[in-house]
């Protein structure tokens, strides 16, 4: 277990460090492109000056961050070799496209952007800046497509001969609803982060009474861009909630600290969880059989305190304020798919419909009695664990039969594997509680992300109002708030990833492969050593970045 823990820590550290740079690169380059467009279209020289200043900040961030993502690929080959093989070309194809097309595009045009101010025409330079922005965005697209596939496997089939997944439908992988929503949500979160950083640094200039025009112009642009991006961010966040409710109900339950589901669940705006609440300990059967009062009683000890918006979670998840939202215990006990088929909120479980090419034996699923008119079917996790073990044994049997050239045994094993493959990953679990992510971490990360996301909307509105009133410099405390919003933007961005990645634990591939099966057989001590080595290396790199960036900012416009 130690090697799983340290491999996860190492991957989280590397991905987290990489993500310090990516959102600013993506967000800032868009703002720079807009500034340069204003310069080219309006001929206003101050926009060129602004664009050049922010390009310096972009350059520092890009240089320190570039290629840090490659370390993640090293880790796939070393720490996660079983996973790397098992995913096959599903993961490789999007990453290859990212490497060849997007990164190449970004690298070529970034040179024109920095070297070409007085060497190429204004319009060609502008095109290069936009193409750099497009390249950065496309890079993110392919990475997010690969990540979305892990959250909702689609467009693939498992080949037991090679023990790899093979892509059967590239477009299903690319246009998976999770991929598209995740892409837009993540990109717009980068735009918001870029906007907050620009506003924060501009506020610093105003506090120092320097470069007032550049600062106010940048603030105006960033506030408008940030506000528009926030609208899309909220819209796709809502889309995300619906996707998670359909495909990863355990993640949704952890995000909301919902142990026992009910009809008409409220959204916890914020709350403080009581420590030590264990999954499954409060009930032996499904909440929906017992009714809302019983679920409320069972949930009463989950929070110290909470502020709840009535019926909101049901509505956000299923567009029905009275819909049943399953809790952690319901999912463990197998009651989470039983919505009324007549209701517009009716959904099927991801393991019933989303994994193609699987033969499913639904006749053995448990039909639920219809206390609220529903008649859904579901499986308790203990049964999914049993079926997962059958799938793993079937894979072993298939391999042995193949080596013995016994085609009859191969057919039998293949049929058993196919009919249980949707539960394959559960076979590595020894207890249903292992399928529950870290609830406090997921819950607090989710709420920090959402609260800060709405706080940034307020920030953008206030900035626009003060700029309109021409009084922004008078409110120094607000300028300090803007400045200190920069780390909060990073906190929100990181929290979003923690929700996405910790919330889906134990899965590296939803339902098919848990971390404990994905990890390589390595010495935990060696992984621990590289973790601390990386922590030191990344600290040095981050310190260097901050020093250079702060120097660039502090010397800009300084009278000597």
């Amino acid at each position: 277990m130690e090697v799983v823990f340290w491999s996860r820590m190492q991957f989280a550290l590397t991905a987290g460090f990489h993500w310090i740079f990516v959102p600013l690169t993506i967000g800032l380059i868009m703002l720079i492109a807009v500034m340069e467009t204003l310069y080219v279209c309006r001929g206003e020289e101050h926009w060129k000056r602004s664009a050049k200043f922010w390009m310096n900040i972009f350059a520092v961030n890009f240089a320190v961050g570039v290629a840090t993502g490659l370390i993640l690929e090293f880790e796939f080959g070393t720490n996660w070799s079983n996973y790397s093989w098992f995913v096959g070309d599903i993961f490789g194809a999007p990453l290859a496209i990212e490497g060849i097309l997007a990164f190449f595009m970004e690298s070529v045009f970034i040179a024109v952007m920095f070297f070409g101010w007085n060497r190429v025409s204004k319009r060609f330079h502008l095109a290069a800046t936009w193409l750099t922005a497009l390249g950065a965005t496309l890079s993110a697209l392919w990475i997010l497509v690969a990540n979305a596939w892990m959250q909702l496997p689609a467009g693939m089939t498992f080949n037991p001969d090679t023990v790899r997944h093979e892509m059967t439908d590239f477009w299903a992988v690319l246009f998976s609803p999770v991929a598209m929503n995740k892409f837009v949500h993540t990109i717009t979160s980068c735009y918001v982060l870029g906007s907050v950083v620009v506003i924060g640094i501009s506020a610093w200039f105003l506090l120092k009474k320097r470069e007032a025009q550049m600062a106010k112009n940048s603030m105006l642009l960033a506030a408008v861009f940030g506000l528009l991006s926030s609208a899309v961010l909220i819209f796709t966040g809502d889309g995300s909630a619906q996707q998670v409710a359909r495909h990863q109900p355990m993640k949704l339950a952890a995000m909301e600290g919902l142990y026992n589901g009910k009809n008409g669940v409220g959204l916890v705006a914020f709350g403080v969880l009581r420590p030590g609440v264990e999954p499954g300990e409060r009930q032996a059967s499904c909440s929906r059989h017992k009714g809302n009062a019983a679920a409320d009683a069972q949930n009463s000890n989950v929070f110290w305190w909470k502020l709840e918006l009535p019926n909101m979670l049901s509505w956000l998840a299923f567009r029905d304020g009275n819909a049943f939202v399953p809790g952690i215990n319901d999912i463990i006990n197998g009651c989470h798919c039983g919505l009324d088929p007549q209701s517009p909120a009716y959904i099927k479980c991801s393991f019933h419909q989303e994994i193609p090419n699987q033969v499913r034996d639904d006749s053995t699923l448990h039909p639920l009695p219809p206390p609220d008119g529903g008649g859904g079917k579901t499986l308790p996790l203990s049964e999914r664990i049993s079926r997962g073990k059958l799938a793993i044994h079937a894979l072993a049997d298939y391999t042995q039969a193949k080596q013995a050239a016994d085609s009859a045994a191969m057919r039998t094993a293949r049929a058993a594997l196919d009919s249980n493959f949707a539960h394959f990953g559960y076979g590595y679990l020894s207890h249903p509680n292992q399928a529950v992510p870290n609830v406090p971490l997921t819950f607090y990360s989710f709420h920090i992300m959402v609260i800060l996301g709405f706080a940034f909307v307020a920030l953008f509105v206030v900035v626009l109002f003060l700029l309109y009133k021409k009084t922004v410099e008078k409110y120094r405390w607000l300028l300090y708030v803007m400045l200190w919003s920069i780390p909060l933007a990073y906190l929100a961005s990181m929290s979003g990833w923690i929700v996405a990645e910790v919330g889906r634990q134990p899965w590296v591939i939803q339902d098919l492969m848990p971390t404990m099966a994905a990890v390589s057989r390595l010495e935990a001590g060696a992984v621990k050593l590289t973790f601390f080595l990386f922590a030191a290396l990344f600290t040095v790199l981050l310190t260097v970045e901050l020093r250079i960036m702060l120097k660039q900012i502090s010397k800009y416009g300084k009278k000597t």
């Binding site: 079983n82 070297f115 793993i392 057989r521």
Partner: protein, 73 residues
Amino acid sequence: MLRLLRSIYSFYADGFRAMTLGRTLWVIILIKLSIMFLILRPLLFPNLLGRLDGDKARTEHVVKELTEGGTRQ
């Protein structure tokens, strides 16, 4: 064609010569890439499956891992 190549070369050469902040950034990039590819990758991050001879051996290794030793609990 030659003229185009020459102008592309001079574009980059002049650009690199005129760099100020860029010089520092390139030093950082080169140090970082050296650490990654000359130290981290060969010493700490061997490609475990890449060491095996051919896809058949890799398949056998992963099947064994997944069916016999895949659970690290």
